[in-house]
């Protein structure tokens, strides 16, 4: 497969050599040292060439590859099973340390007033930073939990993405009114690190613990596989109205975290990961008031299956519906400085007994970012705190644009709190990070 992707790249480059072509890319290396357990978490090298070409007839092509080699092989030790990936959306591995992935491959073209993006791509919804309420069209790789950039951890999907401008139909109505229609015939779900990986989930909120002494058999996960009937569908209406950026969103999809259905057998417990349909309906808004920008998202999701500790429950999961909201405030009152606060709240439809989470849960993020030296030096501190479990993640980063082409950075990531919490489970994964990125 690596050979195939490489040949594809050479072929595209050769074909495009005669056309209007833009070939750029980045070479990046990042080293992370876990100082709690004195282990190098990773030392990876990434090459991400990107080709853009005018194919004529108003059609543009974008291709982006990512070749990655990790000297440490602790984030995904060995060769990951890729059970969560559709066969046409898998990475190609060479040994256990090197991989190649087709990150993006799409054409864009105008069809009348509409705009079509067709192929493997990322579709980003929502206004929140670091917390995902509406940004769920694409699944995510949790290879580095949430420490990797979303642009890198978001898994692109094969998607038909059609944006159609609409007329409001009355004077003074919304401007920039656009309907976005998504057809996603790609059932790829989240990449969740397997046992033995450095950031494998241990919190019972996601991976419930079996009763002591009971043998557990884990069956393979089976992704939905019908091209049409198992496709995800999405619709977003966006507009600019009276100073507000507004969207209404709807997504009919499969959940991206495999549901661990339990079955009691004479040999013990059999667990079968599965996927179920959900409806997501919501919206977002943003506006600016003086030094302050206000943004928010709301999403109602049906049929969220959560693990329960109730031993009488037949399959050990409970279908619930969830309403998630996030409100963000960004303050620009100091020169070259952003102060950002986000409050995230998740509410279940009922107080289901036995769940590993509470009916109402709140998280908060606080970001302070300041740039210096004509934006060539940026200092950033980010705190994410989950109120109920009391666990948190603190991130500090200093990055320097040494030149047009070269960026250098140092970082520190600190997890703390209850081991049952989403962040506290990685309490021993605190790390120092150093990296560089060269653009060409």
């Amino acid at each position: 497969m690596i050979r195939g992707l490489f040949l594809l790249w050479l072929g595209l480059a050769a074909v495009s050599a005669r056309a209007d072509i833009d070939l750029t890319g980045q070479l990046e290396s990042e080293w992370a040292y876990g100082y709690e357990d004195d282990v190098a978490q990773k030392w990876d090298f990434k090459l991400t060439p990107e080709l853009r070409s005018d194919l004529g007839e108003g059609i543009d092509l974008t291709v982006r590859l990512r070749a990655r080699w990790d000297a440490e092989d602790r984030l995904e030790p060995g060769r990951p099973s890729q059970d969560s990936r559709a066969t046409h959306n898998r990475r190609a591995f060479s040994g256990s340390r090197a991989e190649l992935e087709l990150r993006e491959f799409y054409i864009t073209t105008a069809i009348g007033e509409a705009f079509l993006t067709l192929g493997k791509q990322q579709v980003v919804w929502g206004k929140a930073d670091g917390l995902k309420v509406l940004d769920v069209v694409n699944p995510q790789s949790f290879r580095e939990f949430i420490l990797d950039d979303f642009d890198e951890s978001r898994i692109p999907l094969w998607t038909l993405n059609l944006e159609v401008p609409l007329q409001p139909g009355w004077e003074g109505g919304p401007q920039d009114l656009v309907a976005q229609i998504l057809w996603v015939p790609d059932p790829t779900a989240h990449d969740i690190p397997q046992d033995g990986a450095l950031y494998a989930f241990t919190t019972p909120r996601i991976v419930p613990r079996p009763p002591p002494g009971v043998p557990v058999r884990l069956n393979d996960a089976a992704l939905p596989d019908s091209l049409v009937s198992d496709s995800d569908w999405g619709l977003r209406l966006s507009a600019f109205w009276a100073g507000w950026d507004l969207t209404l969103n709807y997504l009919y999809r499969y959940n991206d975290i495999p549901i661990l259905f339990r079955q009691l057998t004479s040999q013990g417990v059999e667990v079968t990961p599965g996927f179920r349909r959900t409806h997501l309906a919501g919206g977002s808004f943003s506006n600016a008031f003086g030094n302050l920008t206000v943004r928010g998202e709301l999403a109602y999701t049906s049929d969220v299956y959560l693990p329960t500790r109730n031993r009488l429950d037949a399959d050990a999961v409970v279908p619930v519906s969830e309403t998630a909201t996030v409100l963000g405030l960004d303050w620009f009152g100091f020169t070259d400085t952003v102060l950002s606060l986000q409050i995230f709240h998740s509410a279940l439809d009922d107080d289901h007994a036995g769940l590993y989470r509470k009916q109402h849960e709140t998280s908060a993020t606080f970001l302070l970012r300041r740039s210096f030296w004509n934006e060539t030096l940026t200092a950033e501190a980010l705190f994410i705190h989950a109120t109920e479990e009391g666990d948190s993640l603190s991130r500090f980063k200093l990055s320097h644009d040494y030149s047009d082409a070269l960026e250098l950075w140092l970082g520190l990531d600190i997890f703390s709190g209850d081991r049952n919490g989403l962040f506290g489970q990685f309490d021993e994964r605190d790390r120092l990070v150093a990296g560089l990125r060269y653009g060409f």
């Binding site: 750029t24 890319g25 980045q26 864009t108 705009f115 990322q122 980003v124 929502g126 206004k127 930073d129 950039d149 979303f150 642009d151 944006e163 401008p165 920039d176 656009v178 966006s238 600019f240 100073g243 950026d245 943003s286 506006n287 600016a288 008031f289 003086g290 030094n291 302050l292 920008t293 943004r295 960004d330 620009f332 020169t335 070259d336 030296w373 004509n374 934006e375 060539t376 644009d401 030149s403 047009d404 082409a405 960026e407 990125r437 653009g439 060409f440």
Partner: protein, 268 residues
């Protein structure tokens, strides 16, 4: 006091010119500002802009961009797309500038790393624009001036680059506006023939000389006077910025669709 004013003072008795009469011949600061803003800058324009950013040690960064502007009545919409280098490519900036100066502008920034269009505060106008020595306000106004942020006074006349200019002192109307803009005083050198700034000197809110903008290579394109080179020297940091405009076109109609959040995401 500038040299022309000193010469006038010294020579006035000999020439029999009364100072009052000389002052009366100078247009007021507000009149000059109105003339600047009345200057035709086209219904729309498209152009390339190369930014050269040089720090005090002489290290230069270069950004290539393509920008578009279009008027909708008195409302002005501007969009700027970054084309290179790779680490900033696809960044884009959109502004809706409303004629009612009591209404905040609407501004959006697309950052490709986040793949999101971010609403940004229009009160952030004194911040420097993406590493340059121009503020967001400087970028937004282009060659125009704000009629409500400053009180203006015409100080005299001076020759800049061989062109006669009016020397106009502008003081922010309040301390709050001064803090917002980052300037406590601006002295502009406005060409008497074409009503364009040829030079501007800026003082920070503490009263220290902050920066000097030198506008060069002003020539007509499609019958419209156009600045092709802007040089800024920041006296506090030693940083320099040069804006070099090329392929300026006032005739080809600019597509409405470019001034949208969708266009920011898609890029050029």
């Amino acid at each position: 006091m500038n040299s022309l004013a000193v010469n006038l003072l010294l020579c006035a008795p000999l020439l029999g010119i009364s100072l009052g009469a000389a002052a009366a011949e100078l247009p007021s600061g507000d009149e000059i500002a109105r003339r600047i803003n009345a200057r035709d800058d086209g219904q729309w324009v498209s152009r390339n802009l190369t930014m050269e950013l040089t720090d005090r040690r002489g290290k230069t960064r270069v950004r290539n961009t393509r920008g578009f502007r279009r008027y909708y009545g008195e409302e002005r919409r501007t969009v700027l797309f970054y084309l290179s280098p790779t680490n900033i490519k696809d960044t884009a900036f959109l502004t809706y500038d409303y004629p009612d100066e009591s209404v905040d502008d609407d501004q959006w920034l697309y950052l490709p790393a986040a793949r999101k269009v971010r609403r940004i505060s229009a009160s952030d106008r004194g911040d420097y624009f993406l590493g340059t020595d121009f503020t967001y306000e400087d970028i937004k106004l282009e060659s125009k001036v704000s009629l409500v942020d400053y009180r203006r006074k015409t100080l005299g006349m001076e020759v800049v680059d061989g062109h006669e200019t009016y020397l106009v002192e502008s003081l922010p109307v309040s301390d709050a506006v001064a803090r917002e803009l980052g300037y406590s005083k601006v002295v502009s050198y406005v060409d008497t023939g074409i009503w364009m700034n040829r030079k501007g000197e800026y003082w920070d809110v503490a009263g220290n000389k902050l920066k000097t903008i030198h506008i060069k290579d002003i020539r007509q394109v499609d019958g419209i006077w156009t600045a092709h080179r802007l040089e800024v020297e920041n006296h506090k940091t030693g940083h320099h910025t040069v804006f070099q405009f090329s392929d300026v076109d006032y005739e080809a109609e600019v597509d409405d669709a470019l001034f949208s959040q969708q266009a920011l995401r898609r890029g050029l």
